[in-house]
């Protein structure tokens, strides 16, 4: 099956030779002043200017100033923050207080403080205006660590805009919200917060945690007190697709202050892959419910977005809301897409969907 994959942008490359030890580096071309970097620099051509180097025979699109991670044992170099990427995302923790049945990045309780450090170092040294995504686990699982992370960014004068995926539960603590909004004073932040159900029963069931609904809603209202930008996210599964309309009602009642309501197709990865049978509902079946939800959002002056859908499975009238959203290092186009005229507008499929639902469900999309 792997031979069928055409990944738009390769994110890992094999190392031929390197003198570097494992860790985070700024990739630099020769003859550059490297004194302002707080982490070591590396070049990919061995020459007299570079103390550290690696060589690779893979085609790659790394550029000067990109942040990379060297893993000598696996003979891999991975892009951490890449100027050629459509979006860059950093994982800051694997710990989480929700246990979503469709989690694409299942939690892990081990101590992982180093992720925050890597993330901070990466952002500080990337020095681009590009928005950087922060994800977990739950980034605010340990409030002190999260505050510390923002402090480190501030101490290094980083103003990189951040898109932070959080379940929002920690924001029920108003002092915490006050604290972080002060720390984000010079930084644009969009909070991506999930609401998967119109009521506690459904939402708590989707996220596998008691009282998550109450915490998240209270957190959202608290964020609004501080005028924060919020992108609300709903992952559509068998459990909630018939209630999308009610989620829109909940939004207009409780959080009309959000900037976008993102309706997201399941990413068949992590636990979502394990629970696929009981979670998956075909985009075809989702469409009429999505349409009702989006028209209610429109009615209330709330903007909507569709993420993670292959374009051909989205009804024509809903295409204005379509976003080509699958990260470029995890999407691909099956063979039957090769002749499609809309391919350049389409996000394609998750690479992780290979073997999961592609053969069974997607031949329908062939048009």
């Amino acid at each position: 099956m792997a031979g069928d994959l055409i990944i738009e942008r390769q994110n890992d490359f094999s190392i031929q030779e390197t003198n570097a030890i494992d860790g985070l580096y700024v990739l630099v071309s020769e003859n550059t002043d490297t004194s302002h970097y707080t982490i070591p620099t590396i070049s990919y051509v061995k020459d007299k200017f570079s103390e550290m180097f690696f060589t690779t025979e893979d085609d790659h699109d790394f550029m000067h100033g990109d942040i990379i991670f060297i893993n000598k044992k696996r003979k891999k170099v991975s892009g951490v923050l890449n100027q050629n990427a459509k979006q860059n995302t950093l994982l800051v923790t694997e710990r989480c207080d929700n246990l979503c049945s469709f989690c694409s990045q299942p939690p892990n309780a081990r101590d992982d403080t180093h992720f925050f450090l890597y993330a901070a170092e990466s952002i500080i040294n990337f020095r681009q205006d590009m928005i950087v995504g922060i994800t977990g686990g739950e980034p605010t699982f340990d409030k002190d660590k999260f505050i510390n992370f923002l402090r480190i960014l501030n101490e290094n004068n980083s103003e990189t805009p951040l898109h932070i995926l959080t379940n929002g539960r920690a924001f029920k603590d108003l002092d915490f919200v006050k604290n972080i909004t002060e720390l984000n004073h010079s930084r644009e932040v969009v909070w991506g917060v999930p609401v998967h159900g119109h009521n506690q029963q459904l939402h708590d069931d989707c996220v596998g945690a008691e009282n998550a609904f109450i915490d998240t809603l209270e957190g959202l209202v608290n964020l609004s007190y501080y005028g924060q930008f919020i992108e609300l996210r709903t992952v559509v599964t068998q459990k909630n697709y018939q209630y999308l309309e009610n989620i829109s009602e909940l939004i207009s009642t409780s959080m009309p202050f959000i900037s976008t309501h993102a309706i997201m197709n399941l990413e068949p990865k992590g636990w979502a892959k394990r629970n696929f049978e009981e979670l998956f509902v075909s985009p075809e079946e989702q469409m009429s419910y999505i349409e009702k939800s989006i028209s209610l959002n429109n009615l209330h002056g709330i903007s909507s977005a569709l993420y993670n859908y292959p374009l051909c499975q989205v009804d024509q009238k809903l295409r204005p809301y379509y976003h080509k959203s699958i990260s470029d290092w995890k999407n691909y186009y099956p063979k039957f897409c090769s002749g499609c005229k809309d391919k350049s507008d389409c996000g394609g499929f998750f690479t992780s969907s290979v073997g999961v639902y592609l053969e069974d469900n997607l031949t329908k999309g062939k048009q």
Binding site: V221, S224, N246, L299, G301
Partner: protein
């Protein structure tokens, strides 16, 4: 699952159905049998879809969420109040009270063309602009009102030129509310080049229009339609919107009221009931009607508008208030839209908090309506005692007659109207024509939206344009 509990709501019977609404500004239209199940707390008997809506909209809540719901509802209520108190964007300037029309219902008590002392002096222009700069935020709409503002065209021309320079950092729009009497080719050309919007009046076919809006100098209907055609042909870029004031005569023939709009290719119309200001107070017996009579007429007009793909603006303003919580319509605001909805710079140099305030002042000379003078410092307007006196009792959920009304989150407190009609800023709502009109308007809109699929479709289209 914990038990569900009811959160506070108001209700209103609309024919056989019920509308319930809460302080979060949400509503649910329901059949009587479902309404009774809610009242009786027979929640398990309800259709699961209705139950889901009621919980989503904070009409019902699991008992463990009372704190959360209180927070949600109070946050929504606070937002509504806050939105109503955001700085004004509409500024009305009255260059003259002189007018070439002789409308029986003239609400501003216009004066004859040769009357002396009714023009706004050009020396005030800089001060007015100073006030606008101080009071506004990003968006500024300056509307020239009359009398017939074009009678003092030189004032308008000078004002526009100065404002475009002095307020160039704002998003500036100009409107002239005109009956098109004194308009010349030269003025039309200027209006087009300055991108000024025209707000005109068409009350119906010739017999209705000329009876409502007579002029001693010309045939108003012929003049209006001729000029509209000329503008459409030669200057299609000029934005034209038209207003219909409804009199007893109009009620007899909804078809003939709407006909000129269809003939002239308008995409929208704006039906407005009469208000008891100016001459309309004295002529009410001759021109006025009951709210019931108005709505027999209005419902027919709305049907014709929908059939002819015309947007009826009055209904749209109500829909925007219901679904989008728009605070942009001056009449549907609580706290009231006085100053925070519009500011009016009168020909006399007085500053009022609404168009109606200056209308009422003209007939009563009540100094309490004046918020300041053009020559005052702009700061003083906001701290004027009259302003707080007028606004302090316009928090609608506290007003008798409004506090238990199902429409209170969508409606507005109109203190100037009630001062005019009842001599009291709050007024007895059971006798209020304003209240009767608004109640019936909301009844009609909710009923049409939820029981007539054609209306549902059209209203939704209007709302997302």
């Amino acid at each position: 699952m914990t038990n569900l509990a009811k959160l506070p709501f108001n209700f209103k019977r609309i024919n056989k159905d019920y509308l319930i609404s809460n302080l979060a500004g949400q509503h649910q239209f329901m059949k009587e049998e479902d309404f009774i199940k809610v009242i009786d707390s027979d929640f398990c008997e309800l259709d699961p879809k209705i139950l889901a809506s009621l919980e989503s909209k904070s009409f019902l809540t699991p008992e463990n969420q009372l704190g959360l719901r209180e927070k949600i509802i109070s946050s929504r209520l606070a937002t509504r109040i806050y939105d109503s108190l955001s700085p004004p964007s509409l500024f009305m300037v009255v260059p003259t009270l002189r007018c070439d029309h002789d409308c029986n219902y003239c609400q501003v008590s216009r004066v004859d063309m040769d009357a002396q002392g009714y023009d706004l002096d050009e020396e005030h222009i800089d001060n007015i602009i100073k006030h606008i700069r101080f009071l506004s935020r990003e968006f500024v709409k300056i509307e020239f009102q009359g009398g017939e503002p074009l009678v003092n065209f030189l004032f308008i021309k000078k004002f526009v030129s100065k404002a475009k320079t002095a307020l160039k950092d704002k998003k500036l729009n100009f409107v002239i509310a005109t009956a098109l009497g004194p308009i010349t080719d030269e003025i039309i050309k200027w209006i087009s080049s300055e991108k000024i919007h025209l707000s005109i009046s068409i009350d119906g076919i010739e017999s209705i229009h000329n009876s409502n809006r007579p002029s001693k100098l010309f045939n108003s209907f012929k003049n209006t339609t001729q000029i509209i055609r000329k503008i459409r042909d030669s200057y299609p870029d000029i934005q034209l919107s038209a207003l219909t004031t409804v009199t007893k005569l109009s009620l007899t023939s909804p078809e003939n009221v709407i006909k000129p709009y269809i003939d002239l290719g308008f995409k929208e119309l704006f039906i407005r009931p009469l208000s008891p200001y100016g001459f309309a107070v004295d002529t009410w017996k001759k021109l006025g009607y009951t709210a019931e009579e108005f709505f027999i007429f209005y419902e027919k007009v709305l049907d014709i508008a929908i059939d002819n793909d015309l947007i009826e603006y009055s209904a749209l303003l109500h829909l925007n208030r219901i679904f989008k919580r728009s605070a942009s319509h001056v009449d549907l605001k609580s706290p009231a839209g006085v100053l925070f909805g519009a500011v009016c710079f009168d020909y006399s140099g007085n500053i009022f908090g609404s168009d109606e305030s200056r209308m009422l002042y003209k007939t009563t000379e009540s100094k309490e309506l004046i918020l300041g003078h053009i020559s005052d410092s702009p700061k003083d307007i906001c701290t004027n005692e009259n302003l707080t006196t007028i606004l302090k009792d316009t928090f609608i959920e506290l007003n008798p007659g409004c506090c238990d009304c199902a429409y209170n989150q969508f409606c507005g407190a109109d203190p100037i109207y009630h001062l005019s009609s009842q001599g009291d800023l709050i007024g007895d709502k059971s006798k209020s024509f304003f209240c009767q009109i608004e109640m019936k308007m909301f009844d009609l809109i909710f009923e049409k939206y939820y029981t007539n699929s054609n209306y549902f479709k059209k209203f939704n289209e209007w709302l997302v344009i």
